[in-house]
Symmetry: C2
Subunit: 346 residues, 2 copies
DNA sequence: CGTTAGCACTCTTGAGGATGGAGTGCTAAA
DNA sequence: TTTAGCACTCCATCCTCAAGAGTGCTAACG
């Protein structure tokens, strides 16, 4: 839909003012604070038109206007001016990432926390998807208890997963190292995704060597355990507390809905894994298909190394969100995170 | 302070009724629902006495009574009747623990979730303290990037910690295995706590072998990394959402206070690590020294294997808590958790 | 013909005041 | 010592009312 220049400026003014104050915006306010060179009456007329076109809404007859989801969408797509971060903020973010060398998991948790500190919204970070990452090393370590061992899998990018195994009586501690080696030689470079198809082949290969024939069943079990790791990327959630500051969640029932949503890691994972795989996504209000966040906006961005997509970070807040700033923050943080990952994990 | 039999029964009635309804309890209600064989007027007199002694409080003149922290304390210490779990509930809990074999971390997360599902409160679980646990295995695994390696430490009980290391140019990938072996031979059986004192000694020992002289500095660095693992047991928090159902947190400002508290992992760790190390702890209202939970009760219980204390699990809710049930649940869950740990990790 | 001033109208919000109910404390009788 | 009766207190709810913000409409203006 085409908008006149003046309508665009008024829509932008309404969005900006509403994001700032959280109160419905009246024609007088806009006339006063944004000098458009026209009177409140004119603005009133334009606002009535914008409402009819679906960009604005009126909570009740004698209140000001607030942007509709569609209004926000138009603002984000056509009106919003990019708002870079100040050098101090950039410095602050860079510092946080360079403070310590961390394993990927801790790095992501730290990223989510950082985001929740520099924005008034709730931050999420999704682990790299282990199903696509290649296996770098598989180790089976003995535990103190007889016939228990720990399966540790290190995937590309320094992700570590571990599971406890119960070994059959036929396997002794001394065998574990050899089994590890054998597994390694076959599995190194595989992705967990490949594993399903490879499973049979791997078993055959190991059968050839003869040595571990007794263990084939067990190796199958190990692979089964490996496969279990697939598709359950952890989601790090920080700053749930932030949303209490947002006036739209003063209403307890709405707050409950949102918290009920945030309580389900599975739903968060879906939210972050939704396409596209790459780049920035903005979902405003009803554009979110998930239950309980139809009054929220979710902005996500991918991070990664060397063009491979590793995972996503994102922010969740009310539709009345400071889009320009949030996008700048996310872009800068994702970029910094990617750099650190590249630096330490190639 | 000594209470008459009748006073005890009235106090117990007030606590039970208040826990049930959340409304201040009047004399008539007690006379009707708990047949004490006396009239409301008599109960009124006794309640006035109980208030004077500090067991009860009155929100305002013409309201019923509610228990004070002290009243709850007396109830918990002297009046509460243990309330066992139904066979169905016991079965349900046992099943949850036997469903899958999990690494300790996942097991604790699962425990917290279980607790938050079968009680209307917020559940916490504290990891075993790695500083006291003995090291079972140390492994340095190469990463794909040159001069980056992953330090994996497995401690007693199957806890796994890992950190990314930056190796100096003088160390090659081939050395890592040997270094791991050397470290292992010295460190196996150590606790991380011992490490501080052992550090110097370990370095000396390794110097004797001669072979790794160049690496002594690096080994020192590794030990430093190991020490970093100490004292930061993770806390698993589940069911924050539950507290919204509690009427005492309808008040937004109180809710904020509590959520601000729950947001600090450090505070939760302090809360769970507070003495005693062993057994059940009940802290009611002001007995909690931490800011933000002076209207809450915290009940914790230790879990462990073979008499060693491993960690704690606990529940946090309003002082108006169903103590008898919560205690039974915690005891049963801690016992089940301990059994699973014993079974898999000795 | 677009823009603007003026004005009546609508709706929310908060304060003030009346009402009913729940529960108490006190007194006097059993 | 216990209980019935009663006056009293305080909260919660509802209603009303006025103020304030903002609109839509109309008519006048350039």
């Amino acid at each position: 839909m085409h908008l006149e220049e003046r309508q665009k400026r008024i829509l932008a003014a309404v969005v900006q003012e509403y994001v700032l104050t959280g109160e419905p915006v009246g024609s007088r306010t806009i006339a006063r604070r944004y000098n458009l060179g026209v009177s409140p009456a004119t603005i009133r007329n334009e606002m009535a038109d914008l409402e009819e076109m679906g960009f604005l809404e009126q909570p009740h007859t004698s209140a000001g206007r607030i942007p509709s989801d569609y209004g926000y969408r138009y603002y984000v797509d056509h009106l919003m001016e990019p708002q870079g971060l100040s050098p101090e903020e950039q410095e602050h973010i860079r510092r946080r990432f360079q403070q310590r060398v961390l394993a990927v998991e801790q790095l992501l948790e730290e990223t989510a926390r950082l985001l929740s500190e520099i924005t008034p919204y709730t931050a999420m970070a999704l682990e790299p998807n282990p199903s696509r990452a290649k296996i770098e090393e598989v180790q089976i370590m003995p535990l103190a208890v007889p016939h228990r061992a720990l399966l540790v899998v290190v995937t590309e990018g320094g992700m570590v997963e571990h599971r406890v195994l119960t070994l059959p009586p036929s396997i002794y501690e001394e065998d574990l190292e050899k089994i590890s080696e054998a597994l390694n030689s076959v599995l190194k470079g595989c992705s967990l995704d490949d594993l399903k198809e490879l499973k049979a082949q791997v078993l055959k290969e190991m059968a050839k060597t003869g040595e571990y024939k007794d263990l084939l069943g067990e190796v199958g079990l190990l692979l089964h355990h490996l496969l279990f790791l697939v598709g359950n990327e952890k989601v790090y959630l920080e700053g749930v507390f932030n949303i209490l500051e947002q006036p739209e969640f003063r209403d307890l029932s709405r707050l409950k809905e949102l918290l009920a949503f945030l309580d389900q890691e599975e739903a968060l994972r879906r939210l972050l894994k939704a396409p596209p795989r790459r780049g920035l996504t903005i979902r405003i209000g009803q554009e979110n298909r998930e239950e309980g966040i139809d009054r929220c906006s979710v902005i996500t961005i991918s991070y990664g190394v060397e063009g491979k997509i590793y995972g996503k970070v994102g922010l969740l807040g009310p539709t009345r969100m400071h889009y320009a700033r949030v996008i700048s923050v996310l872009q800068y943080v994702a970029q910094s995170l990617s750099q650190v990952l590249a630096q330490f994990y190639g």
